[in-house]
Symmetry: C2
Subunit: 461 residues, 2 copies
Amino acid sequence: MYGRYTQDLGAFAKDEAARLRLQQGHGEGDAPRLRRPSELLEYTQGRCAPCRVCALQCQRFFISKVGEDWVFLILLGLVMALVSWAMDFAIATCLQAQKWMYGGLDTNVLLQYLAWVTYPTVLITFSAGFTQILAPQAVGSGIPEMKTILRGVVLKEYLTLKTFVAKVIGLTCALGSGMPLGKEGPFVHIASMCAALLSRFLSLFGGIYENESRNIEMLAAACAVGVGCCFAAPIGGVLFSIEVTSTFFAVRNYWRGFFAATFSAFIFRVLAVWNKDEETITALFKTRFRLDFPFDLQELPAFAVIGIASGFGGALFVYLNRKIVQFMRRQKTINRFLMKKRLLFPALVTLLISTLTFPPGFGQFMAGQLTQKDTLVTLFDNQTWAKQGLSDEFEYLGILEAWRHPRSNVFVTLVVFILMKFWMSALATTIPVPCGAFMPVFVIGESPASGGWWAWCPSRR
Amino acid sequence: MYGRYTQDLGAFAKDEAARLRLQQGHGEGDAPRLRRPSELLEYTQGRCAPCRVCALQCQRFFISKVGEDWVFLILLGLVMALVSWAMDFAIATCLQAQKWMYGGLDTNVLLQYLAWVTYPTVLITFSAGFTQILAPQAVGSGIPEMKTILRGVVLKEYLTLKTFVAKVIGLTCALGSGMPLGKEGPFVHIASMCAALLSRFLSLFGGIYENESRNIEMLAAACAVGVGCCFAAPIGGVLFSIEVTSTFFAVRNYWRGFFAATFSAFIFRVLAVWNKDEETITALFKTRFRLDFPFDLQELPAFAVIGIASGFGGALFVYLNRKIVQFMRRQKTINRFLMKKRLLFPALVTLLISTLTFPPGFGQFMAGQLTQKDTLVTLFDNQTWAKQGLSDEFEYLGILEAWRHPRSNVFVTLVVFILMKFWMSALATTIPVPCGAFMPVFVIGESPASGGWWAWCPSRR
């Protein structure tokens, strides 16, 4: 029995080898036939022949030396920069429309309130419904899923075109509503989906792009691109892509991330210049420290205290967010009701938050009329908002006007802003739409460090 | 036979287990005796007893929650910042002494030349001799060796106190001579040695520090510290520590590198403020771009061209360096002669380079009197050194005076500077002293991008 099996195996191996040799022969027969046109080009007549030969040789040289990764990374960076810019443009338009509606109805407060509240509710409800129907995988930031995928686990439907469309449109609507939601987390997911789709598209051309394990590696570069084109911060993107990797970062992905993220951030900022939003390429959110004396040594302990406090605040934020989710899940009656009417919860939360930020109402105590980006820009303002500890003497110009209240102090406004934004952001990130939490957390973390509070530092008084 | 062996093994296992149990019993007997003082503290009388109990509990809580890595990283950062600062101080003193000697002898050019040439020759010869005698492993930058060690290979004598002393003193003398040598490479090695020594020292206290595999991990953080306290660039340090790792970067070392490098860079800059060199904490080499309009989009192609050219220049530099080394090794007669008189080669090279940079001689065409740091500062100068393409109209103030030549153009000076520095740096890095090549390469790479050459960009004319 044993011997016979060995004989069988030997015969099978011989057959297999013969078959393979035959196939190889065919392959060799095919290859020259395919290659012939370019190789025979040298002997063809015509003016352009030498040029074409030279071009082909150059192409071969580049592909052999430089590799085909560059093509992929450049395409990825370009596509993501375009997506990011287009999305920013759509979001800005949405936010402007809300402002315009709110400004136009200033004759009647009730109409103003209705406009202020209805607009985000409709957008968030649409976003939640659209995502739910098209691809429920697009809900949330997608960073935990990316971490899982990068570890090698295959998650179904997380890197498909459907999810891509759902995420892009859902995120645009969610951010266009003006809720305290972030863009970075989902953008990492979008960039990864873009990379996966791009690899699948390029694999039609064969070559290196057919290698599947390489495609997973490219996702690390995609994470860097996601951050890079979201905040125009390529180094931050690369650092993020390292952090996302759970245990061991493959150093061969390092240059990929750097190259793609830098290219993407560059194109993203060039688009802003091209659209005449900016005069030249600069940082997205600029600080304006003095060049020769950026900060005093005496201020550093204050910075350290803010840092430590923000650390605890961040932990509290995560805790609060989890408690809200757990509460919603435990209350079985609420849960069953909301499961039936899936769009009710997003609508209710949006209604609550937008009611509280209504500028003529409670919003006047927390700069409610400012969008998230405007808030960030005003908080980056490098002026002391109070002189001698008194806030009255300072002149609020332009956009800063929102922080002033005629019968209240700027410090009160800032404290109310932090407290309200804190739980509102924690609540808003539980809405089942594509959204992140980085940006609102930045805004909250930044407000204690902003101009107003610097007045407390000894050296700025 | 088989059975007997099993029986033997069983008996052996029983014996071994009994022995271990006995040992463990002894261990348990020992531990409470050791622990007793702190545990019985609660029952001791006295005013400070509750405080001491509380402090002990706090200590235990911190060590269990925060871990003991922090202590190590803070110590490493502190020590390296002190070493870096002390070394910079010593180097600056050495360079000033040369300047003072050269300035004091301005009555006689021959004496001036002798002073200018002898001083670096003596220093480099001493450095080479000292390193050779104490620890030949300290020669060179040490980065390739660190890469090897981080891969897990044990290199003998590369992380010892002897090498540490040889590297620190050798590097100080080498850089104090004013030769075109760098500090970064050796500093990575010094930081790693410091980490290794520190782990060995702390392992006397037992606990986590006795873990050997942890000590190798700490070397990655040490690489980050080396760069961080050399250039006051913590993020650059972390990125460098990732690049140094050959294939897979352990993400658990990421926060270590960040924390230690930031702390080290902070202390390094605070020391500069404390020594009244700086008014406040700022970057080591500052650029002075305008805040609102840092650069024009039209300049970017010029930057790209400089980048590409510098890339090829860097490759050429490495090629030239290797060719010099290979030439020296192949010429058997030269090689045999130099092997006998080991200090002759460093002395000859230093003599050649310092003769060429002698300011009243050829040095006047290449800003020879500037030290490496001064050169870098003047090249970072954010002014256009020529107006309308003509260099005569510009006023050279203070330290910039060195770039001007009465009968020559600033562009000629820059071209001569680049060409001369190029081969001089490539030659200088072959001297067997502890030295790196980053800094001279920075200087060379920066000069085409410097003020003078910007005049060629269309928008700055």
